[in-house]
């Protein structure tokens, strides 16, 4: 187990969760998110994203493992860790009968803010999220996008250092999505660490610096957004040859990598942006006769395709 850097906004070690019905939703999660990061937790539906967030926010109890928020264990330092956390859940969870303004002011009260201070904070975040005009409306009158923005305003009223959003743009139309992204980026620039879950790679790509991919309760990839994109930007082709391969074909190109598979096949990987005509030319120049060629599927791509379908 790696040591934990106390400067991390969040450090998760060996987290597992088996629900009451016996289903194991998390199978040992290790994850670190640095302070000031903009982090994506990407994965298909049912991967376990909301379960992780549920455990961080204490709504779900872990079966085993630990979580530290800014160096403090959420199980033992409940008060301190909760003060530094803001949670925007996946499902709407405010009272449908309360007024928009009251919902945010009440939440401030749970964090020890009241009176003028609570009102000022509520106004500040309702304005930022374009809901100030709606402050006297009952929350059930809001549109889907407004409801989600209300949950963001509510999560920010105590100005947490770490904001976690569970699929914040689900059901939000494109235009609003952009303005929500801009808002989150500004918040992040001003020092708030942000973690969001999504099952759209595009969303993670435009916002996040680092990313973990989760599938079936396990982290399958944990890297920077740039490296992930580089990985996704390459394709691998498998060539079968007519004759036995004595030597591997040589490509004088740093972008192209060639590896043998067996005596009658080899694979070549290169950027997806390039054409492959040149490959054939080089191969025939070197006297390699190609019987067939196929595309090796990318494990990550498969994951995204399957998640887009669901």
């Amino acid at each position: 187990m790696q040591t934990i850097d106390p400067r991390n906004a969040i450090s998760i070690r060996g987290l597992t969760k088996t629900y009451a019905n016996g289903f194991q939703a998390l199978k040992g999660i290790d994850l670190d998110v640095k302070e000031n990061d903009f982090f994506a937790l990407l994965g298909p539906n049912g991967a376990g994203k909301s379960t992780i967030i549920g455990i961080i926010s204490t709504l779900v109890r872990a079966s085993s493992g630990t979580i530290q928020v800014f160096g403090q264990n959420v199980a033992t330092h409940v008060y301190e860790t909760k003060l530094s956390l803001g949670i925007v859940p996946q499902e709407i969870n405010f009272s449908q009968f309360e007024k928009v303004g009251d919902i945010v002011i009440t939440q401030a009260g749970y964090y020890g803010l009241r009176g003028e201070l609570a009102k000022q904070r509520a106004e500040k975040y309702l304005r930022k999220l374009d809901l100030w005009e709606k402050r006297d409306n009952r929350s059930r009158m809001l549109s889907g996008g407004m409801k989600r923005r209300l949950m963001i305003a509510r999560a920010l009223v105590h100005e947490p250092r770490l904001l976690i959003l569970d699929e914040p743009t689900a059901g939000v139309d494109i235009e609003l999505r952009r303005s929500m992204w801009e808002f989150l980026q500004e918040l992040n620039r001003n020092g708030t660490t942000i973690i969001l879950t999504t099952h759209y790679l595009e969303e993670a790509e435009s916002l996040c610096r680092n990313i973990a991919i989760i599938n079936q309760g396990q982290i399958v990839e944990n890297t920077s957004m740039r490296k992930l994109l580089d990985k996704l930007a390459r394709q691998t082709l498998i060539f079968d040859t007519c004759d036995e391969l004595k030597t591997l074909p040589a490509f004088n190109d740093s972008d192209i990598q060639c590896n043998a598979i067996d005596s009658h096949s080899f694979e070549v990987s290169l950027s997806t942006s390039r054409d492959i005509n040149g490959l054939y030319a080089t191969l025939s120049d070197q006297g390699v006769l190609i019987k067939g060629m196929r595309n090796k599927t990318n494990r990550l791509e498969e994951l995204f395709l399957s998640s887009l379908k669901s």
């Binding site: 709504l59 109890r61 009260g109 009241r114």
Partner: protein
């Protein structure tokens, strides 16, 4: 956690609870006024005159304290069970659960909300009783104390009910099958002197009997039961239910998966 923060959190929950039952006053404050008003009219004035004396008083004077207590009990219980369950049902209970508010403040906040409704309805019903009889309160402090303790006991019971409830049916079963019989057999309408000794013995196990009788003592100055003992029982019930509710809350029963 700072005392100041704890107090603000408590106040926030209480304000939210009071705002809720005053917002839906047609469902929370008017029905008990109508039902209890009808009891006053029918049992107090119309039938009461033929019954004559009960426990040494005109029947209407005898049942008025019992009926006020009935309203307090039902409304304290209903307020917490329905409000807390609807918080669970709409998931807005998560707003508090993810915040740093400690469990005992969550409990105290909702219980204080139930007590506020119990007392509010108690006052409305008491005011209405002046149309039917002229009550003179013998022991004001004791009367208030009993109302507060009783509404606390039933707010706590309503809270526990809501923790276990999964459907709206689950919060109407206990009032129908447990609360109503306890109240009707708890000396609201008759003095337990009327019962055979076996019936009196059974009645002595009914907590509502102590509440109704202590309250009646506070107003009229007479009681079927020992007042000190009754107050002691009320305190024991409150403490016991508080401990159970807090234990369930800590365990996350019905709230945390």
């Amino acid at each position: 956690m700072q005392a100041n923060h704890i107090y603000i959190a408590f106040e926030t929950i209480l304000i939210k609870e009071v705002r809720r039952f005053t917002r839906i006053w047609l469902q929370t404050l008017v029905p008990p006024a109508i039902t209890i008003g009808l009891y006053f009219l029918i049992f107090g004035n119309l039938i009461g005159g033929r019954i004559g004396q009960m426990g040494g008083y005109n029947y209407v004077d005898f049942i008025v304290p019992g009926l006020i207590m009935m309203a307090v009990i039902q409304n304290a219980y209903a307020n917490v069970s329905s409000s807390f369950f609807s918080n669970k049902f709409q998931r807005c209970i998560e707003e508090i659960l993810v915040s740093p508010v400690p469990n005992y403040i969550i409990l105290l906040g909702f219980v204080a909300g139930g007590m506020a409704r119990g007392v509010a309805v108690g006052l409305i019903v008491t005011a209405m009783s002046f149309f039917f009889t002229s009550l003179h309160i013998e022991h004001v402090f004791l009367t208030l104390l009993v109302v507060l303790l009783t509404s606390m006991v039933f707010s706590l019971a309503g809270f526990i009910n809501a923790l276990y409830a999964n459907t709206f049916d689950d919060i109407s079963i206990i009032p129908t099958f447990v609360l109503t019989p306890l109240i009707y057999l708890g000396g609201v309408f008759y003095s337990i002197e009327l019962l055979p000794s076996f019936g009196q013995w059974i009645s002595a196990l009914n907590p509502v009997l102590y509440m109704v009788n202590t309250f009646r003592y506070g107003i009229l100055g007479t009681s079927d039961v020992n007042i000190v003992w009754a107050l002691f029982m009320l305190v024991v019930f409150s403490a016991g239910l508080f401990a159970v509710a807090l234990y369930l809350l800590r365990k996350g029963t019905g709230l945390r998966q």
